[in-house]
Amino acid sequence: MKSLTIALLLLVLSLVIGDAAFAQMKLNGAGATFPYVIYSKWFDVYSKKSGVEFNYQSIGSGGGIKQVTEGTVDFGASDGPMSDAQLQEAKGKQGTDVLHIPTVMGADVVAYNLPAAGKDLRLTPDVLAGIFLGQITNWNDSKIAAINPGKNLPDESIIVAHRSDGSGTTYIFTDYLNKVSKTWAANVGKGTSVNWPAGLGGKGNEGVAGIVKQSDGAIGYVELAYAVKNDLPYALVQNKEGAFVQATFESVSAAAAGASKNMPEDLRVSITDPGGKDSYPISGFTWLLIYQNMKDKSKAQEIVKFLKWAMADGQSYTKDLYYAPLPEPVVKLCLKKIDTISTN
């Protein structure tokens, strides 16, 4: 027993020492689950290419904002942009500005579990708000039937699924509902965490997708990649021009068309409920939250290298993983922003 314990301790010790001896550059980041599918691919590919390891923990946008403010990570990620107050707080605690660098665009799709209804369920803003407000509680409600003629809608309770953690995906979704439903704006509002009138809470995009997948009659909002990867049907949403649009990289890119011409200087912008008849109305940018002035300059250098890679080669991975690449004008603005990160 004694020799076994000693052997074990020596093994642990050697691993610790060995790892320190061969220390590669390791950076830690945390935040949004929305882009986790593509970020995990990016970091995996990039680490093989460059040897620099970016350890990203998807704990939700709220977590990303928090940890960036507290300085416990090297970078954060969020699809709900930080508010001015939050930026002030971060600057106060970390002594430097936090930059929002958009990386990709994605869509919040409304996934559902209703085998009887099949694919391509249609939803209008009013019905969507009604469901998530807890006002429409059964799938065979006349309001749903009215916009889905010919669909088989069974007598089943609607099980609403939303995020239990602070989420940029929630931010995009509630930002949209806030614009299209006065009742929603009056009673709930928008944010990374809101007071949900109905439904079950799941942690992360995975949690919500999990609930939808496992519960008959469930409906929830998730990033497109999560719905596709799990064979979850998702609804067509009626946009501002009245067209029922499916979320694809084309319709998401169309949603950003207007905004990309008029990006604000700090790159924080919402693209929900835009004009354009091809636009998918619940789309959004997702940002990496980067310190402008990091104390550890070697880390800053690696981050800048990665960001430049993400703006170029990284964008080629978007379509296969069901995200939309950044429009050209936005990439140019990003590169300008990246140049303001202090690396020496």
């Binding site: 691993l15 945390a30 350890n55 923990q57 416990t72 995975e206 939808v212 997948k213 990867k229």
Partner: protein, 287 residues
């Protein structure tokens, strides 16, 4: 007159038989979940338990395959750190309690140790976050180790105390009679005698720590890469199970079951060993 039993007597007898049966049934029902969980995780996990699971790293989200090599090592490092923090305190406190059975302070300490064992692990995680992560400005295996160490203290202390108390007084008296200093008697004679029981008890505490998830969520955080540095976030089996279980990817679900099976297996083996080692020691203790 025929000598016989009254109806009331039979009523009492059957009531007794019935309640005996109920108790037997309760025992059966109580064990059912155990077998359900055990065999369910076995059946679900065995498919995913291949060599890849033990030696490969996790793949990007949505891709199938890969393994939990970093999590296995991570859990090992975390419980190693927990031992480093928790063991000295547990050992010495256990010795103190065994030496000073009747002192008032010892009773208070014993009482507080029991109270400590009831504190939820999430609360310990919050404290570890406040006292390690915030000052360090970093999530780290160290913070996770501190949390696990605190969680190990109550069990390890009590086991040490109980095992030491089992050593017959005659051995202590023999040592003292030979003129050996008191502290030497404790350290060189009594402790080694009780060592086997103590070690197994500590291994048991370790096994429990290995299954802890809540305190690690905001101390060690997690790591998709191979990392063994204690100042960095680190992967662990329990957090991986949590992440993979609520995910919709069925490949991940499978891997979660495999990890659960590994944990259950590890814990069961240690429990069996503990039982085996302490069996003889408990002779005559009315257990």
């Amino acid at each position: 007159m025929k000598q016989g039993f009254s109806t009331y007597h039979y009523w009492r007898k059957s009531k007794s038989a019935f309640t005996t049966f109920l108790c037997f049934l309760s025992a059966l029902i109580a064990i059912v979940p155990l077998f359900l969980i055990f065999f369910y995780s076995l059946s679900q996990g065995i498919g995913a338990l291949n060599l890849d699971f033990f030696i490969k790293m996790p793949k990007p989200v949505g891709e199938s395959g890969g393994g939990m090599a970093n999590a296995i090592v991570g859990t090992a490092i975390l419980i190693g750190l927990g031992t480093i923090f928790g063991l000295p305190i547990s050992l010495f406190t256990g010795i103190y309690l065994a030496e000073h059975k009747h002192s008032a302070f010892a009773s208070v300490v014993r009482f507080l140790t029991d109270v400590l064992s009831g504190i939820p692990s999430i609360v310990v995680g919050v404290v570890a976050y406040i006292i390690v992560v915030l000052p360090m400005k970093h999530f780290s295996a160290l913070a996770g180790g501190v949390a696990l160490g605190i969680l190990m203290i109550p069990t390890a202390t009590r086991t040490t105390e109980e095992m030491l108390l089992l050593v017959p007084q005659s051995i202590r008296e023999a040592g003292l009679a030979l003129g050996i200093a008191r502290w030497k008697v404790t350290l060189r004679v009594i402790l080694p005698t009780a060592l086997r029981g103590i070690t197994t008890g500590i291994l048991l505490a370790l096994a429990r720590a290995a299954g802890e998830t809540a305190p690690l969520l905001f101390t060690a955080l997690g790591n998709r890469f191979w990392s063994t540095e204690i100042g960095q976030p680190i992967a662990s089996l329990s957090v991986f199970i949590y992440d993979y279980a609520k995910a919709p990817f069925s490949d991940w679900n499978r891997q979660a079951w495999a990890a659960a099976f590994v944990l259950i297996f590890f814990i069961t083996i240690l429990n069996v060993i503990f039982r085996f080692v302490t069996r003889g020691r408990y002779a005559g203790n009315g257990h």
